[in-house]
Amino acid sequence: MNTENLIAEANPVPLASVADGASPHAQRTLDRIMLLEHGDVAAGRGRRRRAVHGARRSRRAPRRVSRVVVGLTLSATAAAAAALVITQLVPVGHQIRRNAAVTHASTRPRPGTLAAALDSLSLAADAQPVESPPGRGQFEYTDESSLNWIDTYKTPTASYNVSYSELRQIWIGSNGSGRIVETYSHPRLGTAKDRAGWIAAGRPSLAVPPTDSAFGPGQLSDGPPNLNRLPDNPAKLAALLVARKIEGGPKGPAEDFVQIGDMLRETYVRPSLRAAIFTVAERIPGVRLLGTVTDQVGRSGIGLAYLHAWPAQGEIGKSVLVFDPKTSKLIAEETLVTYTKTGKTALVAWTDYLKSGVVNSDTSTTPMTGAGPAQPSS
């Protein structure tokens, strides 16, 4: 046998051993691609159009501070349980707005509009007045509304998860001290199983009293990162981002997108840097423009999304950031999950940023300069 025949015979994966394009395996991959790219399932299965609505789990809490405080109210079990809930878990009060989001999400952006939208946000950012980070004795204040989950465990059969609309006020001092005030409303049991668990637990009250917690220096956070040391040059900024020199974390565009959100969430980033961050966002592979979307409190903004494929879980996650087109400020975040097996999509986490800025005390709620997007811009 000559050398070429030997090599050909040594082929470790003969063509005949691989499933063909009509196989179920190939069909599943095709469905996955079309769901990611097209928002639809491929032909051959009836072209079921799926509305993007509802919500669900976040692989990462959507707020920077929440990484510190999330353990106060959410357990890992709750997060896991949240992964199992579907659209009925969205509070009734948000039903209309959620449907409105469906309309917007269904409007496919024209090619090239991502660049145009990010250019527009970059220009808007550059035109904003300079804001200073909190100085000594000052606090970064954020007033936000979110979907939150609380897990209660008594016994394996008497356990349940409840979603709440949460209003949270946070003051973060330059030394990492601060205060968090939280108020919960609209409790909703997630699934029939949760309801059964709640009944088995003796139907305890679902009301959660408000909390007001104070934190000493370094207890709430390490202090706001000094983002203003970062360069305005988008190429240099992108290099730092990708190398994880700005913030730690895993590699890859999904984390790039998360960290872009982290940076834009800081209200005191200088305008030229914010402009550069939007330019960098344009370069992240997989970032999508959703067009004009409406957040949970009814404000309109420019929606950007990043899709995550989680094949092991049979899920596709969508992280959404919503920006005020006039100020470029981040006004809302959402996480949606589509279950590839059923095609259902659920809104599993959302946060609307109602007000933000630097204040002089941990009781003040009026930012000194550059108040966040409390008012709808459209």
């Binding site: 470790p12 051993s17 063909d20 394009g21 097209h38």
Partner: protein
């Protein structure tokens, strides 16, 4: 909805291409990527194809075009793997073979010699052999996949073939040198020694 315009044309075109070429692309990927990552890489290849649907040439030129996309996707995958695991050395996936040969045990052993010899080749030379002898591309098509001229491809191909021939011949000729799969490292060394300088 997210993504390209939901019209029947592009979807139908993509689906036809996908179904017609899935097997070949999947085989290409599975020969080069570990099993647990192969499905993701295959999906990524066709995602690129979907996004560049307007650039896909008509058959038969679509085959080398698809293999070029797959090759780049695998390179991206391997780079990501290296970064992720922070490996200084080459990953297993970067060596040629992640799947095992099929056939009788005697034949598998002979194939092991060939695969070990191929693993010791330079990547571009190894790919030259694989594209022609495993993917069954013509030399011109394979040159297009590798982004080189046909003349340059011919040179690579001949060098690679000669290196494998020398390695296998050396391994089988050396008395007692090869008695089983445990000797593969010596085969790789033989292949490295037998590789012409370039």
């Amino acid at each position: 909805m997210i993504g390209p315009q939901a019209s029947a044309g592009p979807s139908a075109q993509f689906e036809a291409l996908y179904r017609g070429r899935y097997q070949e692309v999947a085989a290409y990927v599975r020969r080069r990527v570990a099993d647990d990552a192969a499905d993701d890489v295959i999906a990524n290849v066709f995602t690129v194809v979907w996004r560049k649907l307007g650039d896909v040439p008509g058959p038969p030129q679509d085959r080398p075009w698809l293999f070029a996309v797959a090759r780049n996707t695998i390179s991206d995958h391997n780079r990501a793997q290296r970064r992720w695991f922070r490996l200084g050395a080459r990953l297993k996936a970067d060596a040629v073979i992640t799947a095992r040969p099929v056939g009788s045990s005697a034949f598998r052993y002979e194939s092991e010699l060939v695969l070990a010899a191929m693993a010791a080749l330079r990547p571009a030379e190894r790919e030259a052999l694989q594209l022609v002898l495993w993917e069954e591309l013509s030399h011109a098509e394979a040159a297009a996949v590798l982004g080189c001229t046909v003349n340059a491809f011919e040179l690579r191909y001949r060098r690679a073939r000669q290196a494998v021939r020398a390695a296998v011949a050396g391994a089988t000729a050396a008395p007692g040198s090869v008695t089983g799969p445990g000797s593969l490292s010596s085969i790789q060394n033989s292949a490295a020694v037998g590789r012409p300088a370039s």
